[in-house]
Symmetry: C2
Subunit: 124 residues, 2 copies
Amino acid sequence: MTQGSPHDPRFRLRLVFAPGEMLGPGKADLLEGIARTGSIAAAGRDMGMSYKRAWQLVETMNAMFREPLVESTRGGAKGGGAVLTEAGQAVLTEFRSLEAVAEKAGAAHIDRLQAMLRDIPDQK
Amino acid sequence: MTQGSPHDPRFRLRLVFAPGEMLGPGKADLLEGIARTGSIAAAGRDMGMSYKRAWQLVETMNAMFREPLVESTRGGAKGGGAVLTEAGQAVLTEFRSLEAVAEKAGAAHIDRLQAMLRDIPDQK
DNA sequence: ATTCGATATTCCCATGTGGATATATCGCAT
DNA sequence: ATGCGATATATCCACATGGGAATATCGAAT
């Protein structure tokens, strides 16, 4: 009887398309952060991720999809920044929807599994 | 238009109940292997996993659930062995069902994401 | 009593993942 | 011209994860 809001921390879903080509919560959160902050560095900071790692994730995402998901600019008044491309928005939306429908579909199973745990965590 | 049979390698789902308490494809495969072979070591070998790791996974599973999922015996004619308890069977079945319904529910989203890849992997 | 095969448990080490750090570059604003 | 802030990129290193190997233990069968 636990209802899964957009981000249920219990439920993690990852798509493995090929070795080294995967999409999961980490990259999704990063895309979200970039969309919100307009910066790779700021997005990384917000989720306690080093800039190096954040940038690496962006690089692999841009490489694995037909069109880049993140567009970045250097220099300028604010030093630069990054924004989601149309493809980036689409991927993010699609993945979030996937998470939502998948978890909703499996909610009953998740609840039954959780009920079998020794110490049932605070539901949410 | 890709149909997800029981084990679609693209789709990986993990439940994170608490730090150190998670259930995903690895443990599920191991449970399956134990049920099939009647041995922790054999199950580990079958999936290229060291006995040490297989045993560790069994240990954590037995610890995190109210009742142990795997019951093991030492000594005897065949040296010993391991079988799934009723709880073990239930957890395995429940998790496989979860994977199935979750993937089926998200199939359209998965296909759309895959279609955006640079090189579309061999569907299956 | 000895053998046998699997579980149980420990120790050491290779590996790689990612953090920290340093540096270079860019372009607008002042 | 200089400063600033973010991207871009490489190098070094701490740490955790897990493999490999070694050892002990168990219980039925011979």
